[in-house]
Amino acid sequence: MLDLPPIVDRRSFMKLMSASIALAGGACTRAPLEPIVPYARQPEGMVQGEPLFFATALTRGGYAHGVLVESNMGRPTKIEGNPAHPASLGSTGPLEQGRILELWDPDRSRVIQHLGQIDSWENLASLIRSRGQRWQADGGEGLRILAGGVSSPTLLAQWRLLLEKYPRARIHHYEPVNRDNVYAGARASFGRPLEPVYHFDRARVIVSLEADFLGGLPGHVRYARDFSRGRRPEARSMNRLYVVECMPSITGAAADHRLARRSSEIHSLALRLAAATTGPVSADALPWVRSAAADLQQHHGASLVLAGDEQPPEVHALAHHLNEVLGNRGATVDFIALPVTTAQSNRDSLAQLVEDMRHGRVDTLLILGGNPLYDSPVDAGFAEALRSASVSIHFGLHHNETSRHCTWHVPAAHELETWSDATAYDGTVTIQQPLIAPLYGGRPVHEMLAALTGDFDSTAHSLVRNYWMGVFGNQQPEERWANCLRSGVVSESTARYENTQAAKAVVGDAGATAAVGTVPDPKEIELAFRPDPTLWDGRYANVAWLQELPKPMTQLTWDNAAFMSDALAQQLQVTNEDVVELEVGNRTLRAPVWVVPHHAEHALTLYLGSGRTAAGPVGTGHGVNAFALRTQNAPWFAGGVKVRKLNERYRLATVQSHHRLEGRPIIRAGTLADYLHDPQFARQESDRRAASLYPDVPRAEYAWGMSIDLASCIGCGACTIACQAENNIPTVGKSEVIAGRELHWIRVDRYEDAAAGAQRTLFQPVPCMQCEHAPCELVCPVEASVHDAEGINVQVYNRCVGTRFCSNNCPYKVRRFNFLSYSKEDAQSAALHNPEVTVRMRGVMEKCNYCLQRVVRGRISADRDDRALRDGEVVTACQAVCPTQAIVFGDLNDPHSEVRAAKGSSRTYTLLGELNTRPRTTYLARVVNPATGRDPSEDGGER
């Protein structure tokens, strides 16, 4: 026994303790009085205390995604998909959910700055006026605008006006995650750049050449919906997906046959696939190629070949050719005129601008959004060239890396703060309406551009409205304007499909061309760049929700890393969190290692968007900046990478450290053949409802339940962040995630395991199971964890004393504890919070409650009208956002409810059913559809 000297003597201890008790008592003041401030004039259509929903759109790279934004007494609080919008159909991806936090972000810029000092719009306006006189004389010589992808018809009209006025001015485009390859591929095939629009619901066989159509392509939310529609085993037939890719993506995880190859090898593989599809299949072809070619041949007009943005134009041309040969054009793929106005080559457009700046041909540069100083190719020399522009104006949401090197910075209005318009992946136009006046004095982009043409008076509203009044002409323009705002879609604006000539035969003689594709040295290590699944190109780096949302394939938060296969890690003798130095050309970058199963061997992947140096307090300093290695000629993959292990470690924050099922039936999976042979294939002995000593739950009018279809779930994580937005769930930060204290109420577990005969990536969303015999309730000493009459296991925050017994006793580990005061109390957070959900304090347990506030709202509204709730009237946040409608929620007492039907499926199983907890949330077994007659072990080898 240690004999420690007392730190304080007994008397001092008593003094200290009584003083603290007295202080604690004194601090226990009464709640503040809350005044009510009435409206002077109440806005039309508002019912106090009831939310309103406004239809608008959010853009990324110009492509619009239709949304409905919930507004509580004038405060936008939640983003939902717009069921009437073709890109959404009521769902969103994870990134759209984060945009509401971006709106309220207190770190957005608030003042106009000139050379680092606060300045005024008047001063900038007089500068623009004086320059304007010069431009009038010289036709705008020296005026340059740099923008990203733009799809706003009003903005494009303003550009035409600007170029009419100043014909020698130039507009450049640069998006770091651009579609240059897609447009170049279409030009090679059709002679002009066109946008492909896919119809996955009509495709029975899909071959993706590194196209992440479930997580990245414009329209991916709609594509996910269409794709999953073809994957219901109950229809007794499913589509089949072949994917070849370097870095595992959620599309690869959804594949029936996935092949891991370096990005540079995919061209030659595509050539071999084309040869095998159009000619005889050679016997020595890869099983993946053989099988895909055979399937394509059998599905004329019902198959689809598509190439990813990362693949060179030749691969896109090849895909067009194959679709043409297979009769897919007009059936599963159509082409429209580019919905987004951008440079035909973003790379060349930026290079031209840099060239002009270097030669002193630019005196005024306006950067509309974007962050080229951070995200332009490292060898483009943008930063040095920028200095030669005497006036550079950065217009954006944040005072970021670029604005720090511009002479002027003007805060921009957020998309939810301004009138504008935008075009979706299929050409559908939405008129964007503001949800709130600019919070931080941001200026609408239309007004900024109007100022350049000498118009300092027009508002964004008048510019947008006048444009559309001109379009509508005299055909009931007021009604059409109102209809467009209400529905969120400009009627009949969807683009017409272009009548494309047959794609040029890029594969003439199948046998001869097979050798054309150059195969790189098999031992050479290649570095691939991919947009970050949550931060994209870094623009969302200051959105804490998106930083803390686990990236689907790596489960990492708050960082990126050098992703590599296990084989390469062994070869380099590195493990997770070892720091390596990557050398490409003469540039180096240090990055921690993270091993990703199924990654292509001899390749590394870096997500773009991390390593920001001026993103704001949330986003600065997380991860490494992959743009430091990204060059103009190798925007997506670079060969000849040297990797050197450093004697250094870097701690990464992952939310899941074990990815094996260890033989337990946590995720059950089978093939379509299994299902057709025995629909009960997923059933196990433990599923039988065992007798229980606990009394049955009393039945009330409603019995809430949920069913999650693992055959549909693609693991995108939209449910996690939608739940976060709906339920006021705070972020905790990297160090707390490392301590295992993240607070997400619904997590998406990822397993790498043998399923249906092959090693596969399996996803499983896990919210609270709402057990009827809930283990958490038995151990709570203060009855803070109790059941309500309708079967929801509720957490009474005011009773909770934080013993955490419930979490210890929960077999599903879905209970989350507020170890610290995570909820922020600043004005912005208070305004963003869902007023229907309690904000939890430190020391309180919390967890999913089936969006109780939505259940109660629905029930009250039905009771008020003295009727029963209709099926589908109560929709949980995770269910609403899910792009594939994998989550179904409803009343189990209603024999005709969708959730009853889902639970009636032979694929239904309960998680850890042997514990007899009788969860109200159940799963439907995953079903994949690999080609019949193939040895499943081949997939293991291919992956």
């Binding site: 005044p35 009510i36 009435p38 106090q48 509720v794 009474v796 309690t838 009771d863 008020r864």
Partner: protein, 205 residues
Amino acid sequence: MKVGAIGAVIVVIAAILAWRRSVAPRPAVGAPVDQPVPFSHKHHAGDDGIDCRYCHTSVETSAFAGIPPLSTCMTCHSQLFTDAPLLAPLRASFAGQQTLAWQRVHDLPDFVYFDHSIHIAKGVGCSTCHGAVDTMPLTSRVASLHMQWCLDCHREPERYLRPKSQVFNMKWQAPPDQRVLGKKLRAIYHIHPSSVLTSCSTCHR
């Protein structure tokens, strides 16, 4: 020894009383609340007979009964008492020169989600909770608003239910056979069983 024990008891009782005081909703029961404009429910609802819903427009459709926009006040007061000094803050606010901040009389804690509309729809009268507001020159609270008080009705709503036609009647008196009437009304209104009404999730989330 004895003195110590008595002292301890006194300290404990005092602590409990202090705690009760600190958690009791403010302002206290029966205490009139100072308002920027001394608005009299007695004058408006009692003497003038203006219906509750003329001002509290969302009481039947929303959780929040609604605090009238100043334009509602001005429907009359642009004609009546146009230069009364008492109404100066109202006119100034309507002109956008200042904000009018009413003090809450009934302030539930933030973790309680009370819904006016469902109570109105199920035959709970205004005066059941708010008392005879039509006789209050300055409004004050009549109920404790403690959870026990809420549960008192949620356990046995039949003690308080009245016909829907009487919900806004400030003079309504419970008949001697209230329990019989209440039981009948409870069945007609399809009011959930008390197991639902007393579930935590009915009011907390």
